[in-house]
């Protein structure tokens, strides 16, 4: 995973987006959100992912929103993350905000 801001180089990547590396990911994202620059997150499509990562990103979204910061994904998620989101019930029609964030899709009411 890497994050990009206007003033920092991409951070080093943990090997997975799962509970194995979730502590490191937490530190990485927390650090990125301490600055004032917008944070854009990107990760590889073929990387292993689980619910702990999706939950962490939801936490980061909440943090950014409370602090008035911009936190977005650099590009829509790939099949692996999308699979977890769909199986976990994150992408129902009721949650259009999630679809906009994760998939960069607008859901029309």
């Amino acid at each position: 995973m890497e994050h990009s801001t206007t003033s920092h180089d991409p951070a080093p990547s943990p090997s997975s987006l799962t509970i194995r590396d979730i502590q490191a990911l937490h530190g990485l994202i927390s650090k990125a959100l301490t600055g004032n620059d917008p944070v854009r997150v990107a990760f590889k499509n073929d990387v292993a992912v689980d619910l702990s990562f999706v939950q962490l990103i939801e936490s980061a979204r909440l943090t950014a929103k409370r602090n008035g910061k911009t936190f977005t994904l650099l590009r829509p998620v790939g099949d692996n993350v999308r699979g977890v989101l769909e199986r976990g019930g994150f992408l129902t029609a009721a949650n259009r905000d999630a679809a906009r964030f994760w998939l960069h899709e607008e859901v029309n009411p």
């Binding site: 939950q55 936490s59 019930g89 949650n95 259009r96």
Partner: protein, 702 residues
């Protein structure tokens, strides 16, 4: 505080699950129609698969899935439990263990061969009882969810009902390897499921513990399956989770399946913020149905929850290293308390003495409580040998009965783990070399069923684990001849029976005429000896030709804190473990002089050798006028230790000695005294052995 690797937690859990599966299968072999055993094995396989997948043990999860599916069919009454199936899953269980220990290992065609065996077992079982069903089925082992996914299509729409299921899982769910996505997938398998996550409890980054789970879910399910099937999805997590299942009434095709619609969701501000909208429900249906189903659902669920809560209360998994840390702290506390006792003893302050005595009592209780935390019944070790004997029967063609006794005897868990390999060697030897063939037993007038007995008992400060067989016994002459021919002993050497028998513990020693895949290579017994030596234990062998052999492993209770008897020899202080002390006597100067050169005392009609510690320790000081003899024993053997003074009892925290002192056999460790001084702890087993040697020499020269 140490951190715990989740993979280690999984491996520990997997080891327990595999143990549970194996025990269940071994019992099932004798009671093929036992429903509880079938359920137990299925649950073990199911949990192993789920946890394995969660922690990235994909090969394990995929392989286990096939066994689970086979047992699921048995559980549902679609196939019978057969001996072949039990044997196939037993064999598969060993492969599962390999996949846990080395997921990336090269197993060649092992997995495929085991699956073929499983497939044959399932085919055979189905063919005997349900020939039509077996032929009609497109796959003998259906893929996961195959039954469930077709259920919705085939179901009679009139039986379809709607359910709302709300659930949240305990915070450590992810960390412990339970995958909520798998639960949601199982819900989908039950019918038409609309799943909505609730993220409202997810805290911001500065408050989140990223390994914890904060998500919860609401599932709107339309299915013809009963409530019990829905509850079954959560059966492995029900004891700690929050679960609410409401029946919303019969399915009406005219109504939308889902209670919420995109339009409603958009109109609800909470949804836009990621919160869960309360589904809009027809009030009449909701009010009419809820009391009835709440009552039945609660009673059913509470039964399951009660049993799980009971199980949960039975044990708590704590990493051994945390217990070690706690033990260290208790050890330090005991040392500090010794110091306090010493200060209080020399003080006139009555209050200080009272507090000191109270502290001493509390420390002693705390120590006792701490000690039992690490202790586990030796039965947990013995259980493993049921499988070994099961396999040995198959490999040797002998009928073997395994008898166990003293399973409740407790030992330190790490010691039990280290005893496993030596016992495997000994049980194999007993089965392969000790027991005769059925024909041989018949000819010798014995029952054709050979017996191997595993037993344990505590004697003083040690546990004696015994492996006995009722086989042919060990031929001492054969051992002697073999030892002489291989140069281990000089020809015609004078040796006691015990010494001759101890020769079988020498590396490379084997009297077996043929080497089998079980034993006979002479590499087993010296490994047994090395392990027992490392545990500071001893091996006693007794045998009677034609009647059998008994091997007793005497293992000291390796406790970090022991009650000791503090003694003085010269200017040094030493600790003798109190459980080994039998009695204390006075040795007057006259008696001391009289016994010079013999070092034996007459104790109630029997001669007991004694050792003058001042000579061994070369104190260089004169003996006290009234020396004491502390008589110590290990089971049957006794020896007296001559000391200058007995100071008193002392709670002793054992500190291991450095590598430099590895070859010092007289001491088993050291301890710190209340005044900060150091006292060495005497190794009673070695001293008794020295006394025994002394006695044997005397008898030889007498």
């Amino acid at each position: 505080m140490s951190t715990i690797d989740p993979l280690d937690i999984f491996r520990a859990e997997a080891a327990e699950l595999l143990e549970q599966i194996e025990q269940g299968l071994l019992d099932l072999e004798h009671r093929l129609d036992d429903r509880a055993l079938i359920d137990s094995v299925f649950r073990g396989l199911h949990t192993l698969k789920g946890s394995g997948a969660m922690f990235g043990f994909d090969a394990l999860a995929a392989f286990t899935h096939h066994c689970e599916t086979a047992f699921d069919r048995v559980r549902k009454g679609l196939a019978p439990a057969t001996t072949d199936l039990v044997m196939a899953v037993l064999a598969a269980r060993d492969h599962m263990r390999a996949l846990v220990e080395d997921p990336a290992g090269d197993y060649g065609a092992t997995g495929a061969a085991l699956l073929k065996q499983l497939q044959d077992a399932v085919d055979g079982g189905s063919g005997r009882t349900e020939p039509t069903a077996a032929i009609d089925q497109p796959e003998t082992i259906p893929a996961a969810g195959a039954v469930a996914s077709t259920a919705g299509d085939a179901a009679d729409k009139s039986q379809m009902r709607r359910w709302r299921i709300r659930f949240s899982l305990p915070p450590d769910t992810l960390f412990n390897g339970t995958n909520p996505l798998a639960l949601l997938d199982e819900m989908r398998d039950l019918g038409d499921a609309e799943i909505q996550v609730d993220t409202s409890n997810v805290p911001p980054l500065d408050a989140i513990k990223p390994t914890d789970l904060y998500l919860s879910w609401v599932v709107m399910l339309t299915t013809d399956r009963p409530r019990a099937d829905i509850e079954d999805v959560f059966i492995f997590v029900m004891d700690e989770m929050s679960l609410n299942i409401e029946e919303l009434g019969p399915f009406d095709p005219a109504e939308p399946i889902l209670a919420w619609t995109p339009a409603e969701a958009v109109a609800t501000p909470a949804v836009a913020a990621g919160r869960m909208a309360e589904p809009a429900l027809p009030p009449a249906t909701h009010a009419a149905e809820k009391p009835v189903h709440a009552a039945t659902g609660t009673s059913q669920r509470s039964e399951v929850a009660d049993s799980m809560a009971r199980r949960k209360a039975e044990s708590v998994r704590v990493p051994a290293e945390r217990l070690d840390e706690l033990m260290d702290r208790v050890g330090e506390l005991v040392i500090a308390q010794s110091r306090l006792t010493q200060i209080a003893a020399s003080s006139l302050d009555a209050q200080l003495r009272t507090v000191s005595e109270e502290m001493e009592r509390l420390c002693s209780e705390l120590r006792t409580t701490m000690m039992v935390l690490r202790m586990v019944p030796v039965g947990t070790l013995f259980e493993r040998f049921r499988r070994l004997v099961h396999d040995l029967q198959r490999d040797t063609g002998k009928t073997i009965e395994l008898v166990t006794a003293g399973e409740t005897t407790e030992m330190d868990k790490t010691v039990i783990e280290r005893l496993a390999d030596p016992l495997v060697h000994l049980v194999r030897n007993a089965a392969d070399h000790g027991l005769e063939s059925p024909e041989g037993r018949h000819a010798a007038g014995k029952s054709e069923i050979g017996r191997v007995t595993l037993s344990a008992r505590q004697v003083g400060g040690e546990v004696i684990v015994t492996i006995a067989d009722d086989g042919r016994g060990i031929d001492r002459d054969k051992i002697r001849a073999k030892a002489e021919s291989s140069g281990l002993i000089p020809v015609g050497a004078v040796m006691s029976d015990q010494e001759v028998l101890q020769l079988i513990l020498q590396p490379g020693f084997s009297t077996a005429a043929t080497v089998t895949n079980l034993s006979g290579r002479g590499v087993g017994m010296d490994v047994v000896k090395k392990t027992i030596d490392s545990l500071r234990g001893t091996i006693d062998i007794s045998t009677r030709l034609g009647e059998g052999t008994t091997i007793a492993l005497r293992i000291p209770l390796t406790l970090a804190i022991i009650d000791g008897l503090l003694v003085r020899v010269g200017k040094g202080r030493y600790v003798i473990p109190l459980p080994a002390v039998e009695e204390c006597l006075e040795l007057s100067l006259e008696e001391d002089l009289r016994s010079r050169g013999r070092s034996f005392l007459s104790l109630r009609g029997s001669l007991v050798p004694f050792i003058r510690l001042r000579e061994i320790f070369s104190t260089g000081s004169k003996p006290d006028p009234y020396q004491k003899i502390v008589v110590v024993s290990t089971g049957e053997d006794r020896v007296g230790l001559v000391v200058d003074q007995i100071i008193g009892d002392h709670q002793t925290v054992i500190k291991s000695m450095s590598k430099l002192h590895d070859d010092v056999s007289t001491f088993s460790g050291a301890t710190i005294l209340g005044d900060g001084g150091v006292a060495l702890i005497l190794d009673v087993a070695n001293l008794v052995a020295a006394g025994r040697e002394q006695e044997a020499q005397l008898r030889a020269t007498a």
